[in-house]
């Protein structure tokens, strides 16, 4: 029997089998950031050891950083301490740091691919669940806890059990105005927030193959919202073209060797999955969420459901109460007060270009606060070079500096209590964007349209 892409990569990284279910997996690249690493560094210090393979580790500061005046010291004392602790730890343990002020700084899952660090066939981990983003390059990439960060520091390996395998095929072509964010919100609405638990997902099919690398990252990014360990897409010519020439990409003879290997990374035609789904791209429309988990989504043209299965009824009612919404109500037309375009899901050049094209020559509705937060310094620089910052500011958006920002509100970019925010991020959990904040997840196009109209609209018609 043939092997899946996932099996090929996994099997090539098993150092040792502990028992029938636990294996020691070798980790090629380890990304770290300020929030989930301090206790792991402290652990090394307690044990009196250093990093086993420090050259395979890259650090950045993203979760806590302010998105204005980044050249000034961070005002909020706890955030400042955490960012400074990262700097100190990276100096003490000799870790490559793209800290605040560095031209490569940015959200960890944006900079990895952007710098060419993320490559097909790798295992990549980070103390951050959205590490699944890197799967778009045909890598096994997944989030880990802080104890595991310490394990990777100390041994470049992890003790893990192999997840089950799922394949999701999206056949046909997406219609105009429907983006990859809509695909993943659609899948979440169909399969629910727990639908991928225990699985590693491979996305395949014509619609997936047609997507750009950046759009693929959006899908893999939110695999974790289905409860999946991660998601990946087989590398193809687009993947290779994207990587070639980037700072950390192989070149010369190394490139030729890499390419030969990468081209073997696909699921064999006779390989088997534990679970497989097929959807039609033509059924997918612009999507938004109405509840407090990313699986509570609907087409922008639909009404909120009357209820969910009985076991979910309590969460459903609690969600709607938190969101200030009613069962059976249409979501279109709902007045909103904030728009956030950013996060590791949708803060890359393509996302900014889509939003800029829509808002050019228009004005943000009075009373709406709209923020654009590029995913990295490089994205920011490129957006400015293309004049997108002007388009945004002329339309009434704030064009801010790179970081996680209002995706989780660890810096000062918080959504006020009770207000709605149409957000291109990945989580609409209670309080995610600030205590009492009401998040509605959407694509950058739907978010841009909401900013201009001051309410949820179908971006295809408005």
């Amino acid at each position: 029997m043939g092997k899946t892409l996932f099996d090929k990569i996994w099997d090539a990284h098993v150092v040792h089998a502990v028992n029938a279910s636990q294996e020691v997996l070798y980790i090629d690249r380890h990304f770290i950031h300020e929030v989930t690493s301090p206790q792991a560094f402290a652990g090394l210090r307690d044990r009196g050891i250093g990093l086993f393979r420090k050259d395979q580790t890259v650090a950045t500061a993203d979760h806590n950083v302010p998105t204005i005046n980044q050249h000034l010291p961070i005002e909020e004392p706890l955030s400042r301490i955490q960012v400074e602790t990262l700097t100190k730890n990276c100096a003490e343990f000799d870790v490559n740091l793209f800290g605040l002020g560095h031209e490569n700084q940015g959200i960890v899952h944006v900079i990895g691919p952007e710098l060419g660090i993320t490559q097909p066939g790798m295992t990549i981990v980070c103390g951050d669940s959205h590490t699944s983003t890197h799967g778009a390059f045909g890598t096994i990439a997944f989030g880990i806890g802080t104890s595991q960060v310490e394990q990777v520091f100390a041994t470049q390996t992890l003790l893990v059990s192999k997840p089950k395998k799922m394949r999701i095929n999206i056949e046909g072509q997406l219609s105009e105005g429907v983006l990859s964010k809509d695909i993943i919100l659609y899948l979440l609405a169909k399969l629910t927030a727990g639908g991928g638990t225990g699985y590693f997902i491979e996305y395949a099919g014509e619609a997936i193959e047609s997507l750009s690398m950046e759009a693929r990252m959006t899908i893999c990014n939110m695999s974790i919202e289905m409860g999946a360990r991660g998601g990946l897409i087989a590398p193809d010519q687009k993947t290779f073209d994207y990587i070639q020439g980037r700072d950390y990409a192989p070149s010369g003879q190394e490139w030729t060797e890499a390419l030969a290997y990468w081209k073997t990374l696909k699921t064999d035609s006779d390989a088997e999955f534990d679970l497989e789904y097929t959807f039609q791209a033509s059924d997918i429309e612009p999507m938004v969420t109405y509840g407090t988990n990313p699986g509570m989504g609907l087409k922008v043209t639909e009404n909120i459901p009357s209820g969910l299965s009985s076991s979910k009824q309590e969460s459903f009612s609690k969600s709607l109460e938190y969101m200030g919404l009613q069962a059976d109500q249409p979501i279109q037309g709902l007045a909103i007060q904030n728009v956030f375009i950013g996060s590791c899901t949708n803060s890359r050049m393509e996302d900014l270009r889509i939003a800029a094209k829509y808002v050019q020559g228009k004005k943000v509705k009075e009373g709406v606060r709209a923020m654009i937060v590029p995913g990295s310094q490089q994205v920011s620089k490129q957006a400015i070079a293309e004049g997108l910052d002007k388009i945004f500011t002329e339309a009434g958006f704030e064009f801010r500096e790179a970081g996680c920002s209002a995706c989780l509100g660890m810096n000062e970019d918080k959504i006020p209590m009770g207000e709605y925010c149409v957000s291109t991020s990945n989580r609409n959990f209670e309080g995610r964007q600030g205590p009492g904040a009401r998040t509605i997840l959407a694509s950058p196009l739907t978010a841009a349209a909401a900013a201009i109209h001051g309410k949820i609209v179908d971006p295809r018609e408005n």
């Binding site: 050259d55 955030s79 806890g145 950390y248 989580r427």
Partner: protein
């Protein structure tokens, strides 16, 4: 890591499904650089109101429920990978969480911190929740060695699964890192025998 062998205690029911780690410990409390103190902020936004006053309708503020066992709805611990969620539950005093399903990363984090994520069947979960709602003083026995959980009043019990390696770690208070460090030679062998090596990234 603390050992966990046998536990007999009362429990706190939280029947909601999909309780995510942002609720267990909201992001704004993740700014600490050590592992202490997270228990005070466990479930903060459910436990306290807008003015930081205890919210009397939340179960942790209900004095009739207490104990080191949390009984929660399906898909507990979904969302962010923050290990702080496990530190907060442990710091608050929980040693076991019972649910009919745990999110993967949370499960691993819990086990790495001496907190047992104990998965039972949906029927048994309903049974426990039902008992707790009729009698908040219901005692539960968790026997890790024998791998069963039991409602003490009537001895209704269910076996549970746990990886034998993870079980050994919990029973002895070992963590994974000690084990992995002992494999150093194997890891080096692996590195030198790989067919394809992604070149190092340091510039």
């Amino acid at each position: 890591m603390e050992k966990l062998v046998l536990l007999k205690d009362t429990a706190v029911p939280m029947p909601m499904e999909d309780i995510d780690t942002d609720q267990i410990i909201p992001a704004r409390f993740l700014k600490a650089i050590d592992k202490k103190g997270f228990g005070d902020n466990l479930f903060y936004d459910w436990r306290y109101d807008k003015n930081d006053k205890p919210n009397s309708s939340f179960i942790l503020n209900n004095p009739i429920y207490s104990g080191s066992i949390l009984v929660a709805g399906k898909n507990f611990g979904c969302g962010s990978s923050r290990e702080h969620a496990a530190w907060a539950l442990f710091g608050y005093g929980f040693r076991v969480v019972i649910s009919s399903y745990f999110a993967d990363i949370f499960k691993g984090n819990a086990l790495n911190n001496g907190l047992l994520p104990l998965q039972v069947s949906p029927e048994y979960l309903d049974l426990i929740l039902d008992r707790l709602s009729t009698d908040p003083n219901t005692e539960i026995e968790v026997n890790l060695e024998e791998q069963y959980v039991q409602l003490l009043p009537d001895g209704h019990r269910e076996k549970f699964e746990i990886d034998d390696y993870k079980k050994m770690c919990l029973l002895n208070g070992y963590d994974d890192i000690d084990y992995l460090l002992s494999l150093e030679d194997k890891i080096k062998d692996f590195e030198s025998n790989r067919s394809y090596v992604h070149k190092t990234i340091r510039k």
